[in-house]
């Protein structure tokens, strides 16, 4: 058990979770108090001692599923052979050779697709968890077409299984059933919506059952540690924004809101505390009256430092777009920390988008509107930094003052147009600071049509900003 635990902790550390030695010891102590056959109990004991942030929960859960997968018949998290990388045993039922075609000929337990679909429907209708698991097992047998020994994480198997089951159609059928079952003139809108949500939740549960089943088999096939390597995903704050998949972007959107709120709170506090102003003589004297005229507690004035003005100029073409959106979102979420925020977006034309953010409670809404309404196309909709920057200079150049900090966002891939770097030079002369945020890895800078070097000469700093963590760090230092 202790070996298994150290393997698990090592895996968590590889996934990027900060697990200290004390926490490892705590976990070892905690599991002694949990009956071994209680898998859920074990999970919570490990979670309580090893994971100290809710955003790490997903990474923990994945690793847990792999390391403490429910094995075949004997349900407990038995520790035998979990570390064995070479355990090649495959369940007889899955008997599909590596060379055979997909789906066909899988030695399922004699269920036709129709029977399977019927059973799935029944299990979802009655929310019967045990039946759901049976269906999941059979569905994986039949459709996943798992091939032993392949170093994959199982996403493809999951996709294949679910595509064959056609869950959307099942949902429609369930809804039809609900409609038919209603008395009188059918369901009201509210009831329909509630039923739909209920069934969606059940289908989600089933999906997870299938996923667990696939993981279990992969662990049996290749061993926990090998699989853990394939299913490991970066923590939300470490996802590379430019190359994020759609799922990852969704994760990013979810963490962005709490992240920006935390940043705002931290900055507001930093402004209010931290520095002490000069002695407030009046207040100190007033205070000393309660101690008989002895000034025990000195009082200080609160300094009110000037707030900087921010001008964001962001490239929103193609792959840089999601990065620009995150940055705008973050800047506006903490806009209370700035005296003024103005934002401009460009591709080859440039447009001011400050108005979208005015009076909007949630920056995400405004960011969504930018895509639809901003007028950023001049000729062909390919990035042209030179034209966009000179256009900015012509229309708004005079509004940059010595109080403004200018943030330029983009990969500086200019499609071999003129760079227009004289604008940046002029901005630097006028503005307090000019920063360039580049969402590309530093190694790629200057390769191909990237001309970030030309601009860098006139910027106070050029920052690599690929992940939310880096972005948060940069924005936090702005004020």
């Amino acid at each position: 058990m202790l070996d298994l635990l150290s393997g698990f902790v090592t895996e968590l550390r590889r996934a990027g979770l900060p697990v200290s030695l004390t926490e490892h010891l705590d976990a070892a102590q905690a599991v002694q108090h949990i009956p071994l056959e209680d898998r859920e109990g074990l999970k919570y004991a490990l979670a309580a001692t090893l994971v100290k942030s809710s955003s790490h929960w997903r990474a923990f859960e994945t690793a847990f599923e792999v390391f403490f997968a429910v094995r075949g018949g004997h349900g407990a998290a038995g520790d035998a052979g979990a570390g064995g990388d070479e355990s090649d045993e495959v369940e007889p039922g899955t008997g599909e050779g590596g060379s055979r075609g997909k789906g066909k000929g899988g030695g399922g337990e004699g269920m036709t697709p129709e029977e399977l679909a019927e059973m799935l429907f029944k299990s979802l209708l009655s929310a019967d968890a045990a039946l759901m698991n049976v269906v999941a097992r059979n569905a994986v047998d039949r459709y996943a077409g798992m091939e032993p020994g392949r170093p994959v994480g199982g996403t493809y198997y999951l996709y294949r299984t679910l595509r064959n089951l056609d869950l959307d159609a099942v949902l429609a059928k369930l809804m039809g059933q609900a409609q038919a079952g209603a008395v009188g003139e059918g369901l009201t809108d509210l009831e329909e919506r509630l039923a739909a949500d209920e069934y969606k939740a059940r289908i989600e549960k089933f999906r997870r059952a299938v996923e667990t089943e696939i993981r279990r088999r992969l662990v049996e096939d290749r061993g926990a540690e090998a699989l853990a390597r394939s299913v490991r995903k970066p923590l939300p704050e470490d996802i590379d924004v430019m190359h994020a998949t759609r799922d990852e972007l969704a994760v990013l959107h979810r963490v962005l809101h709490p992240l920006s709120r935390k940043l705002a709170v931290r900055l507001a506090r930093k402004r209010r505390h931290g520095r002490k102003g000069p002695l407030d003589f009046r207040a100190t004297m007033r205070r000393s009256l309660s101690t008989g005229g002895v000034p025990i507690e000195p009082r200080y004035r609160h300094p009110r430092p000037a707030k900087p003005e921010i001008i964001v100029i962001a490239d929103i073409s193609g792959s840089v777009a999601s990065f620009a959106r995150f940055t705008l979102h973050l800047v506006y979420a903490i806009s209370a920390q700035f005296s003024k925020v103005r934002s401009f977006v460009f591709i080859d034309g440039i447009d001011e988008v400050t108005r979208f953010f005015e009076g909007v409670v949630d920056p995400a809404e405004a960011v969504a509107r930018i895509n639809l309404e901003a007028d950023v196309i001049w000729v062909d909709g390919h990035s042209d930094y030179g034209h966009a920057l000179s256009e900015f200079h012509r229309r708004w150049g005079d509004e940059v003052t010595s109080r403004s900090s200018v943030l330029l966002l983009g990969d500086a891939r200019n499609n071999y147009h003129a760079s227009g770097s004289w604008v940046v030079k002029d901005l630097q002369r006028k503005a307090r600071r000019v920063y360039w945020l580049n969402p590309e890895p530093r190694d790629y800078w200057g390769s191909g049509d990237s001309i970030v070097g030309e601009y860098a000469a006139h910027c106070d700093d050029v920052v690599e900003c690929r992940t939310l963590r880096q972005l948060e760090h940069f924005v936090g230092n702005l004020t």
């Binding site: 905690a30 108090h33 919570y44 979670a47 809710s54 509210l190 949500d197 209920e198 505390h273 008989g292």
Partner: protein, 304 residues
């Protein structure tokens, strides 16, 4: 087990089994899921504080209260806020009383020889002049106590350090007096609304419990347990509507306490089944932003 760490004797465990925690909490009206009861059980066994994190209104504070009620312990609560310092959290010398004492000594001197400075110093830095604040109070208590440090994320990062000694060693060091050790180990709960990252040092010393919105079944049970006179059908409907609301993208999803408020409202209004119009009229109990209310009404109730 704890002797090697120099901790006070942990005493007999408060709970014999995991199930006892769960049924016990249910007995005092707190429906814990497996992770909650599991962590409470472990906290007792390992003598470690519990850091409870989660959205507002999911019963984090209530958990500490319920555990106190269950174990028959006194609840000592430290409400955190910005600017909390050690004189409010740990202890404070009673300056005014000390000053009076010194002045009284001076007056006495005119008639006869007053106390020497040394005596006086020993005198004014004794327990008589010490004002115990919640943390010290919890440590000094002889009867069983549960210490609740509420909304610990509100204090500044530097102030967190105050908690470290008490959380790991169950002791408080006062320079003038020496170290005060706990005579019995209190159960400690810290709650956080996650408005900022807590320091690693603090997290390392605690068991971590993330309390999220309950699932449908548990929420229904909670409504039935906490709202007297609610019918099973209405409780079910309430729980299902709230679950659907939480899937919408709202600024502030309805919390458990708001669900309970809503259920109580419906009971008082004598509603037996919720229809779209009835839900619309009482939605403001559940949602606290106008934008959210409008969105929910549009998406869920198809009225605008």
């Amino acid at each position: 087990m704890n002797a090697g760490l120099g901790l006070p004797d942990a005493g007999p465990p408060r709970f014999a089994t995991l199930d006892e925690v769960r049924s016990g909490l249910a007995g005092v009206g707190y429906l814990a899921d497996e992770s909650i009861s599991g962590v409470v059980y472990l906290a007792d066994r390992l003598s470690k504080p519990v850091l409870v994190e989660g959205p507002a209104g999911t019963g984090k504070t209530q958990l500490a209260k319920s555990v106190a009620e269950l174990t028959g312990a006194r609840l000592i609560r430290l409400q955190c806020y910005e600017g909390l310092d050690e004189s409010k959290a740990l202890y404070e010398w009673n300056y005014r009383k000390q000053l009076l004492r010194i002045q009284a000594g001076e007056h006495g001197k005119q008639e006869q020889e007053g106390p020497s400075w040394k005596e006086l110093e020993e005198d004014i830095f004794s327990e008589d002049f010490l004002l115990a604040r919640p943390l010290l109070e919890a440590i000094r208590a002889i009867d069983p106590v549960v210490l609740l440090v509420d909304e610990v994320d509100r204090v500044e990062l530097e102030t967190e350090a105050l908690l470290l000694e008490i959380l790991s060693e169950y002791q408080v060091s006062i320079p003038e007096l020496g170290t005060v050790r706990a005579t019995q180990l209190p159960m400690v709960f810290l709650t956080s609304n996650n408005t900022r990252e807590l320091s690693e040092a603090l997290k390392r010393r605690c068991l971590y419990l993330h309390v999220d919105y309950p699932d449908l079944d548990r929420e229904r049970e909670i409504v039935r347990a906490r709202v007297p006179g609610i019918s099973e059908e209405l409780a079910d409907q309430v729980a299902r509507i709230v679950r659907s609301l939480r899937t919408l993208e709202l600024r502030k999803a309805p919390s458990v306490s708001e669900t309970l408020d809503w259920a109580r409202t419906l009971v008082i209004l004598g509603v037996e089944t919720i229809d779209a119009a009835g839900a619309r009229d009482t939605l403001h109990v559940l949602l606290k932003y106008q934008g959210d209310i409008e969105r929910a009404a549009k998406e869920l109730l198809s009225v605008s």
